[in-house]
């Protein structure tokens, strides 16, 4: 709401990328020395919000270059890794050229300059006047709403920016409140003190809200994938037969039933086919022989073959958060059926995140969204990302190292179709080795007063909440 990117995810549908500060999405060009350049023409007359120490001024190529360079600097940005091997230059006041040492497909490149995380274009003069630290709690951009006030743990207030380049917002402002309790959010909505509120990720909740006259619950993407990671180096899970037995013991339907459709959906590869190129649909998983539908007899037989006819027992920790805990509990019941006894210990969410990175769990259930197949595959299945021992330890809980080549080949494939096929192959291999098992996909749930019109149809939003734009209205 505060920032723009060179391009943006279409409000309400993050599958479509359209121009934002740029006048159009350019075609990449190749240079003689094998580099790739993307040249963006900027809109004219885009104004920056007035900052605490700066006047409003017109955004130019200087600001764009400054912002992207900031994102590429490790000391100044958490996303610097995404911008390695990229240089940014101003061609003239309204033209920016980005040069990539290694060419990328549009699928991987455009999100880096879209209105999300590192792609946000900031107003350079405001940042320079305030310093990075102060800018974090008082952002200055070019979006339809400008920052007004931040109260820690309580609220953020934004007000309409009338000079917004797509036109003045119809709302006077937006107040974002932090309210951890779902029942008070619901009552706040019913009393008319709130207009939009995050709901419960449960089909029953959605039905209940829709049954009340003046409220509507929206179910939309992007959601999160819940999946199993199995440590393939730790006995007895180093035995592929044991991992296959686990896969056959699991029923996707039971996991989906925790939250129910349409809020939850089955998923057939760790990269969800729902929203990302490179994921496997049910048909594709079946064709490639990696569907693993529940088959208890087969699971028992595999376990016996592996030398565990009577099963074994393991200790696992889970977060107290329902999305984790309930999945672990269902898994506990499923594994009990084939003789694997799971002793489950519930810990605080932050504690779980720390402990699973120290290899405490031989089976880790993780709930995640990543913006593209490359991020999913690299961070969960590239050998560099192996927890504790990898070159850059991240979230490869399964200690898996068999698709490094495929991941890298796909990353630098510039043809989107070929790239998609390589990602599918990578997903297939992960499943064949049962290093992971995808359980379910959960959408987001937000409720709103029927008076609220977002100004667009809500299919998916990367921001994890519905977009409030200059077109959003409330008619009471």
């Amino acid at each position: 709401m505060v920032f723009n990117g060179l391009v943006r995810y279409q409000p309400g549908n993050s599958a479509v990328i359209e121009p934002d500060l740029a006048t159009e999405i350019p075609e990449p060009e190749m240079t003689a020395d094998g580099k790739q350049t993307w040249t963006f023409q900027l809109r004219q007359g885009v104004m920056c919000h007035p900052g605490p120490q700066t006047e409003s001024y017109e955004l130019t190529a200087d600001d764009v270059v400054y912002s992207l360079q900031k994102s590429a600097t490790t000391e100044r940005s958490a996303y610097a890794g995404e911008y390695a091997g990229m240089t940014f230059e101003k061609v003239d006041t309204y033209t920016v050229r980005i040069t990539l040492d290694r060419p990328l497909s549009p699928t991987l490149f455009l999100p880096k300059v879209a209105n999300y995380s590192g792609g946000f274009i900031v107003c350079a003069q405001a940042v320079e006047a305030m310093g990075d630290e102060a800018f974090k709690t008082h952002p200055v951009g070019t979006g339809p709403f400008m920052f007004q006030e931040y109260t820690p743990q309580t609220a953020i207030k934004l007000v309409a920016f009338d000079q917004y380049f797509r036109g003045a917002p119809k709302l006077a402002g937006v107040e974002l409140r932090f309210m951890p309790d779902v029942s008070s959010r619901e009552l706040g909505l019913q009393a008319g003190d709130l207009d939009v509120a995050e709901g419960l990720i449960e089909a029953q909740w959605v039905e209940r809200i829709n049954a009340s006259g003046n409220l509507r619950a929206d179910v939309f993407g992007v959601g999160e994938v819940s999946f199993l990671n199995i440590n393939i180096t730790k006995p007895p899970f180093d035995n592929p037969l044991v991992r296959q037995a686990i896969a056959y013991a699991i029923s996707r339907d039971d996991h989906v039933a925790l939250f129910n459709e349409p809020v939850a959906e089955p998923v057939y590869s760790v990269v969800p086919a729902q929203l990302l190129p490179g994921g496997l649909t049910r048909e594709e998983a079946e064709e490639r022989g990696v569907l693993f539908e529940q088959d208890i007899e087969k699971a028992k037989q595999l376990l016996a073959e592996a030398g565990y006819p009577d099963g074994f027992s393991i200790d696992l920790i889970t977060s107290e958060m329902p999305t984790y805990r309930r999945n672990y509990e269902v898994l506990q019941a499923e594994l009990a059926e084939i003789g694997i006894q799971v002793n489950l210990n519930v810990v605080a969410h932050a504690t779980m995140h720390e402990q699973i990175r120290q290899d405490v769990n031989p089976i880790v259930i993780y709930v995640a969204w990543r913006p593209n197949a490359d991020a999913f595959l690299t961070r969960f299945f590239h050998s560099d990302s192996i927890i504790m021992t990898g070159k850059a330890p991240d979230t490869n809980f399964s200690h898996y190292d068999k698709i490094d080549d495929l991941i890298e080949q796909a990353r630098y494939e510039t043809d989107p179709d070929r790239q998609e096929e390589l990602w599918k192959q990578a997903n297939e291999q992960v499943l064949r080795d049962v290093a992971a098992y995808p359980l379910l996909f959960t959408n987001q749930v937000y409720a709103r007063s029927t008076a609220v019109d977002y100004g667009h149809e809500l299919v998916s939003s990367l921001a994890l909440y519905p977009q409030i734009t200059e077109l959003t209205t409330i008619n009471r």
């Binding site: 490790t74 000391e75 940005s77 958490a78 996303y79 610097a80 890794g81 630290e133 102060a134 974090k136 709690t137 109260t151 820690p152 743990q153 309580t154 609220a155 409140r177 932090f178 309210m179 951890p180 309790d181 029942s183 008070s184 959010r185 009552l187 706040g188 019913q190 009393a191 008319g192 003190d193 709130l194 810990v347 605080a348 932050a350 504690t351 995140h353 720390e354 402990q355 995640a368 990543r370 961070r379 850059a392 330890p393 991240d394 979230t395």
Partner: protein, 313 residues
């Protein structure tokens, strides 16, 4: 009196120091990492490492501890690890909200609880007494957040009389006050139950005392007996209970602040705990400890007013 207050405050310093030390280490022992919390689980390991360095978490623990104490000695509560803003700024913003809520709840407890206690003591074993006892039992068994949700449902959703969630700034007193009523009731009605029960049993004891019989024998009206003699003698336990209640309110206001989405010290602390914002958390705890010390001191001073036999030096 002034010397007494100063001495009490000086004596509080060792207590405070012990509390600080325990807090400092306990918040760091709990597993979880502020850098990961600040950046989200999507952040790369490299970014997290850079963030840890910037937050000063790679310094040896004893050095962090000494810096904390040295800053505190200068009256500096430090900066939040997550927002980089001065913590004193955050606390001074929310503290009035929490103090206001606590005072409002105590007022509700006193103006409802004491009369109910007195009346049920006077009308012992009648229908009024039974109703009073049942109502206070209900009050004792209800958690504040649940009562809060019920009040919100009735008064905000069904009747539309009061706002449900949020708060208004102090600069808008009318609106501001409307936002205080329901949270204050949620906390205060529970105190009412305690207060009524205690007042009832204290008054029952006093009313059978010799000096009450003497007062009645002097020919004083029942009203005078009650107000001048009985209630006055019952004030000490009421003040004690109010003091204890004020301390527990500072803690139990956390849930009510969450339910009503009010700014407050409790919410600030819960948020800081979730984010593992060590510096904010330890400074908030310092303020909590100070508040508790001040409330205890105030209770002791009030004793000297209600009971002249209590001497301070």
């Amino acid at each position: 009196m002034l010397r007494y207050i100063l001495r009490r405050l000086l004596l509080a310093i060792p207590t405070l120091l012990a509390v600080l030390t325990v807090i400092f280490f306990i918040v760091r022992v709990a597993p979880g990492d502020p850098a990961t919390a600040a950046l989200g689980d999507y952040a790369s390991a490299e970014a997290v490492a850079a963030m840890r360095e910037r937050m000063g978490l790679n310094e040896p623990l004893w050095k962090q501890y000494l810096t904390f104490l040295a800053d505190l000695a200068r009256g500096d509560l430090g900066r939040s690890l997550i927002t980089g803003k001065p913590i004193s700024e955050q606390i001074s913003f929310v503290l009035p909200y929490t103090v206001e809520l606590a005072i409002a709840a105590i007022v509700v407890g006193l103006i409802l609880g004491v009369p109910i206690g007195v009346i049920t003591a006077l009308r012992r074993n009648t229908l009024i007494d039974d109703i009073g006892r049942i109502v206070s039992l209900v009050g004792l068994s209800l958690p504040a957040f649940y009562l809060g949700i019920i009040l919100m449902f009735v008064f905000a959703v069904k009747l539309g009389l009061l706002p449900s969630v949020g708060s208004a700034p102090f600069s808008n007193p009318g609106k501001h006050l409307q936002h205080v009523i329901l949270p204050a009731l949620a906390l205060g009605l529970i105190e009412t139950a305690y207060m009524a029960r205690m007042t009832r049993s204290v008054m029952m004891g006093i009313l059978s005392d010799d000096f009450i019989r003497t007062a009645r024998a002097k020919g004083l009206t029942e009203r005078m007996v009650l107000i001048r003699h009985a209630l006055r003698a019952g004030l000490i336990p009421i003040v004690s209970l109010t003091g204890i209640f004020a301390i527990s309110l500072i803690g139990s206001s956390v849930v009510v602040e969450e339910v009503f989405a009010r700014p407050g010290l409790g919410r600030l602390m819960v948020g800081a705990t979730k984010q593992r914002d060590y510096t904010a958390l330890q400074s908030i705890m310092v303020v909590y400890s100070l508040i508790i010390i001040v409330i205890n001191l105030m209770t002791d001073i009030i004793y000297t007013f209600v009971d002249p036999r209590v001497r301070i030096d």
